[in-house]
Symmetry: C2
Subunit: 112 residues, 2 copies
Amino acid sequence: MVQYSRQLDSAFAALADPTRRGILERLGRGQASITDLAARFDMTLTGMKKHVQTLEDARLVTTEKVGRVRHVRLGQHRLEQEAAWMARYREMVEGQMDRLGAFLERTQEDNP
Amino acid sequence: MVQYSRQLDSAFAALADPTRRGILERLGRGQASITDLAARFDMTLTGMKKHVQTLEDARLVTTEKVGRVRHVRLGQHRLEQEAAWMARYREMVEGQMDRLGAFLERTQEDNP
């Protein structure tokens, strides 16, 4: 449960940044080096390394060093638990709206 | 687009904390006051107000002051854009795995 919770923490935190979401979208079209990504996002190598580290800690990307170049690709984490959590949240919101609708209907019936 | 991006930032950041996810789960069973929530999560009123503010900024809850009590309930934000983003990410991961599978197949055919 704690492990599950930490995974949600790190995945949601990693996704809460437009540059990191942009990196994932770029990697969706194929792997890239840290240098490519830094150039693409107009960022220093150090800044890009930090973003990639955050994504790697959340298991959203994997990296591999080949010679002097570090290649980054999408990880195998499919955000299944995160999607399940959000689906449950959506059900809760809909349940609340149903209850509110039922309440308003009863109120109208009582005060026609 | 910027607006859309900011909404994703604030929603994902709000969800990246186990207490805030716990508050949403609690509110799924009905509205609660800030005082109730602080007691439930063994937290100071000030700490709880900050969490509720973060959730309210991300439109995940709404609050209403009735007399001296501030009531909190789930907002009407259904995380639709966030869920769509994650579904797209999942498709990208699956596309990458398909390409990798096809590559490995070709490699095996070339070196039987």
